[in-house]
Amino acid sequence: MLSEDNAFITALQLILSLDQTLVGIVSLSMQVSLTAVLIASVLGLPLGAAVALWRFPGRGLVIVVLNAFMGLPPVVAGLVVYLLLSRAGPLGELGLLFTPSAMVIAQVLLILPIIAALTRQHTEERWEEYREQLTSFRVSRLRSIPTLLWDARFALMTVILAGFGRASAEVGAVMIVGGNIDGVTRVMTTAIVLETNKGDLPLALGLGLILLLLVALINAGAFLISEEAKRRLG
């Protein structure tokens, strides 16, 4: 179809012209999703490792809940955060609704379970492998966490990238809590929805291509870093 050919041309034109609106939207997208990934990783990596190492009552339930929340629909996450941040809600006083911060919170809620659940999986396997060694050196469980995370770093890099992928690709949550406000909370995915709604399908698809390209670039960067690190550290 003609319009699909046009999408590539539209995408190319947008990139080449360095359209200011587009640059703003792209950088907000990246800021929001990278911040969300950073926060979710800082919380999720130790959380996942802790669940892997300790045995406590209800541990099975925690694992099931974490795994189940990997499938949390973005629109539900958005709705929950909306109800929390709404003026009539418990955190309404903070005035965070319809700001980038609200979008970060919603995305953290979406990707924290992914990062925690997959980290649990990866560190548990390594814990079974190294457990005797670590305990014979009298390394406490708490002190073992950094060792295990470091050992699993290449696998965890993929986990973090999966989290970033989900954050940058979702639209349901940021649409509700951000409001898709022009110049304030409009990101790539909500801009794509808007252009689709206006029936400007080539522009919508063009924006989609740009988003895909950006995510591919970030993945390529991560791939190169880990290859380089593997080579140097053996």
Binding site: L34, T35, S101, I181, V184, N197, D200
Partner: protein, 275 residues
């Protein structure tokens, strides 16, 4: 330990980004959040008139464009400072319920009936909009309804009632989505659909669709601005919202609305003096 250093560099970068996001959010002080409809946003009206208002008052208007039903809900919860919607009945009820203290007519345009160009229900020759709706129901030609409690949806349901038809069955398709997506879907399944003229004129993916019926008085589409109740939500930016409300119905605001054209067509007609 290149990787270690890289990781800490990345962490630093992430934190810096987080801080800049926060800083840029703090810089913009004077703004209000306006809950409004998709038609006003997607037709490009706000893009044209908001800069004029901002230049005059220094107040930025942040538009959250949703269906009228959802806009009312946002305002009810205190999540918007101002409201510009198109459902006169709902707006008056909103004032009566005490959520708003004042409602002013601002502008109007009209709804149009759109359908596949070959017009299987022959609505182009209908005598009135009720007649057009009856013809669609009689031929059971596919009709795409918003089904989302928006202003357009509410108006459409009132017209079915006026036509004496209880819409339902295979041919009546409730989509539960905004005007744009509904037009996209209608274009895909060659269905009849009712749209406000502004969204239609700004809409690109028409395929085989065309305006088949318009001009009936019953298709009049009035937009109103509401001044929200200070009593209900004392924390809102009532002063700024009032400036916006008054500008909309002022001579400057009305002129800005009248001057906005898309493809040489005026999309909204100011009528603050109506009622």
């Amino acid at each position: 330990m290149t990787t270690g250093r890289l990781l800490s560099a990345l962490t630093g970068l992430g934190l810096a980004l987080a801080v800049t996001t926060q800083a840029s959010a703090n810089e913009e002080e004077q703004f209000i959040t306006l809950a409004s409809t998709t038609s006003t946003e997607q037709s490009g009206l706000f893009e044209a008139i908001l800069p004029q208002f901002e230049e005059k008052t220094g107040i930025e208007v942040r538009v959250v464009a949703v269906g009228t039903g959802q806009a009312f809900e946002l305002a009810r919860r205190g999540d918007a400072d101002s409201l510009l919607v198109h459902d006169t009945t709902g707006e008056k009820a909103f004032v009566e319920e005490g959520y708003a203290t004042e409602r002013q007519p601002v502008m109007y345009n009209d709804f149009v009936l759109i359908g596949p160009a070959d017009d299987p229900a022959d609505i182009a020759n209908a005598e009135s909009v009720e007649d057009a709706f009856s013809r669609i129901a009689d031929t059971e030609a596919p009709f795409a309804s918003r089904g989302d409690d928006s202003g357009t949806n509410r108006a459409e349901l009132r017209l079915w009632e006026a036509a004496g038809v209880e819409p339902g069955g295979e041919w009546y398709r409730e989509l539960g989505s905004g005007m744009g997506p509904t037009l996209n879907t209608a274009a895909g399944m060659d269905a009849y659909v009712m749209s406000d003229r502004a969204t239609w004129v700004a809409f690109d993916n028409r395929q085989d669709l065309d305006i088949l019926f318009d001009g009936d008085e019953a298709l009049f589409n009035q937009y109103g601005s509401l001044l929200l109740s200070e009593e209900r939500h004392p924390d809102l930016k009532h002063d700024l919202a009032q400036q916006w409300h008054e500008w909309l119905i002022s001579e400057a605001g009305q002129q800005a609305i009248a001057e906005y054209e898309l493809d040489g067509e005026q999309l909204f007609f100011p009528n603050a003096d109506a009622d």
